[in-house]
Amino acid sequence: MRSGHDLELVHVTKRYAGGAVAVDNVSHLFAAGSYICLLGPSGCGKSSTLRMIAGHETVTDGAILLSGKDISALPPAKRGTAMMFQNYALFPHLSVLDNVAFSLKMKGVDAASRHASAGKMLELVDMSAFAARLPAQLSGGQQQRVALARALITGPQVLLLDEPLSALDPFLRIRMRAELKKLQRELGISFIHVTHGQDEALALADEIVVMNAAQIEQAGPAREVFNAPKTEFVARFMGGHNVLSLPRGRFAIRADAVRLDAEGHEAVVTSVEYQGAHVALNARAAGDQDVLALIPEAIFFADPKSPGDAIRLAWDEKLLHPLNA
């Protein structure tokens, strides 16, 4: 896994002045050249982690290594990282071209060559036609591309994205996430993307890092995190799972692995929701446990159920997945 260009967090802690701990002794290795999603509910410490990597928050304790070098005391621009801000933070008084060229101007690059480089970056994100506009004259998606170009012009090893899609409408969000993924693959650098949407994380990430209460709850490839949640929190946060308390302990089972079966456990339907390919059937089983079953719509409509109906639910014991306390 280690390649020499990885980003590594070593026992990183962030404690704010008031004593609140945002990130508690987190260690993790982010493999070079991968798309990583930091996933978690608000207040879980994912943004603080990102901002510490970027250098916009100080590290209270621990170290951040990039390519084997401790970067935790360096200023943001010297770290080899670049950040794309949640609201894009484009300079309202500068044209698109000058926004992208900003970091080169700060380095003292002359106007002609910095505008040439910025022009190339705008080509990369397909925004050349808008070079002379001001940010206020762009749509949300266009602003995001400019912000992306501005971050990438510094030639970072790691691009940090703070909820980059949250300001966009749902259609644009899906299009932009495809573009982000494509760009990451073309550039071959690491993207670390903070989000609270599990669908976004599943769609984009090579590796998902689920955070909760200032700690990493589980990290791994997207498919592994979804199919084998280690804890009840991950199972519930990723969605599509039931958490069952059985005499042998607590288990997770995917909602689409629960089926209607005359031989199964007794339950009463509480609600039915048609979702297109599936019907989401909520039922209450013995011991007041709520169970969600995603039933293929053809099977459901062969024998439809209504709230209040008694049903029997069954699942393959092999698919039960034990959870850590």
Binding site: A54, P75, A82, M83, F85, H93, F102, M106, A151
Partner: protein, 292 residues
């Protein structure tokens, strides 16, 4: 029927609009437009030592433009305005910057802001007069400097000099610079500063490339306040220069004291035109409309 009632509503909306605008329009017409018109009219009248004669004569203007005193006094007024503007801008910007970016808690921002307004709890005149015992020949400043051994004999230029005039102007008007600049600074999205930092800008580069350009409207509004106040002042110059310097305001007030109303009016008209030209030049530089 429906169309008729719709027309009625439109008509009554129109009427409400006029009624709502009327009180302010009336006040402005009565107390601003009318007096200015009167001043313009009177500026064409003639006057002798004993009488004022309604007429239409360019005598006052001819005298005004023909006299070298006018040019000296106008130049002096511009000098006061320019120096005061530069000093209040630097001090005002620094204070606003400190309040907006270094004081993190809103409570302390409010406290410091109120502290800045403390001098305004007394009248202008009292604030100016209180400088006199401080700056005088045997005042606090001179005696302190003497006792520290910085100087051997009292400084003569502290009081009743251009220095004193400008000191008083800066003291009186810096807050007019602080408030609008602070206002625009508070509207700057803090993530822009982080973005600048992320792009490798030093603190000074962030100041010149991000903060100052985004503060331009506030700087412009503050500049208009300070310039118009200094251009129109007459009492500060009289008190603080000990009647040794003059500005346009004093020219007008002297004429009034001598009951030379037509001549005072002509000077006032020229001053008004000058200030309006200055403001329109400033407004060309920055669009402050988006700020209001």
């Amino acid at each position: 029927m429906a169309a008729l009632s719709k027309a009625n509503i439109l008509k009554s909306n129109n009427l409400t609009g006029w009624l709502l605008a009327a009180p302010l329009a009336l006040v402005l017409a009565l107390f601003l437009i009318l007096p200015i018109c009167l001043i313009v009219v009177v500026s064409f009248w003639q006057a002798t030592e004993f009488s004022i004669i309604p007429a239409f004569s360019f005598e006052n203007y001819e005298f005004l433009f023909g006299s070298s005193v006018t040019y000296t006094v106008f130049l002096n007024t511009f000098k006061y305005a320019a120096i005061t503007w530069a000093i209040t801008l630097v001090i005002g910007f620094t204070i606003a910057y400190y309040l907006a970016f270094h004081i993190r808690s809103q409570t302390w921002q409010t406290v410091f802001f109120l502290l800045c307004t403390v001098p305004f709890w007394t009248s202008n005149i009292i604030r100016m007069i209180s400088w006199i015992p401080f700056l005088g020949r045997n005042g606090i400043a001179n005696s302190a400097l003497l006792s520290w051994g910085v100087i051997d004999e009292p400084l003569e230029w502290l009081l009743f000099s251009d220095f004193a005039v400008i000191l008083a102007f800066v003291h009186l008007y810096t807050l007019f610079m602080v408030v609008p600049i602070f206002n625009t600074m508070m509207r700057i999205d803090r993530s822009l500063l982080e973005a600048a930092n992320d792009a490798g800008a030093t603190g000074f580069q962030t100041l010149t490339n991000v903060i100052i350009p985004l503060c331009k409207p506030g700087i412009m509004i503050g500049s208009i306040f300070v310039l118009t106040l200094v251009m129109g002042d007459f009492i500060t110059v009289r008190l603080m220069s000990g009647s040794q310097s003059a500005n346009v305001g004093r020219l007008i007030s002297n004429d009034i004291a001598l009951l030379q109303y037509p001549s005072a009016s002509a000077t006032a008209v020229i001053l008004l035109i000058t200030v309006l030209l200055m403001i329109s030049a400033l407004l060309r530089l920055v669009d402050i409309r988006k700020e209001l």
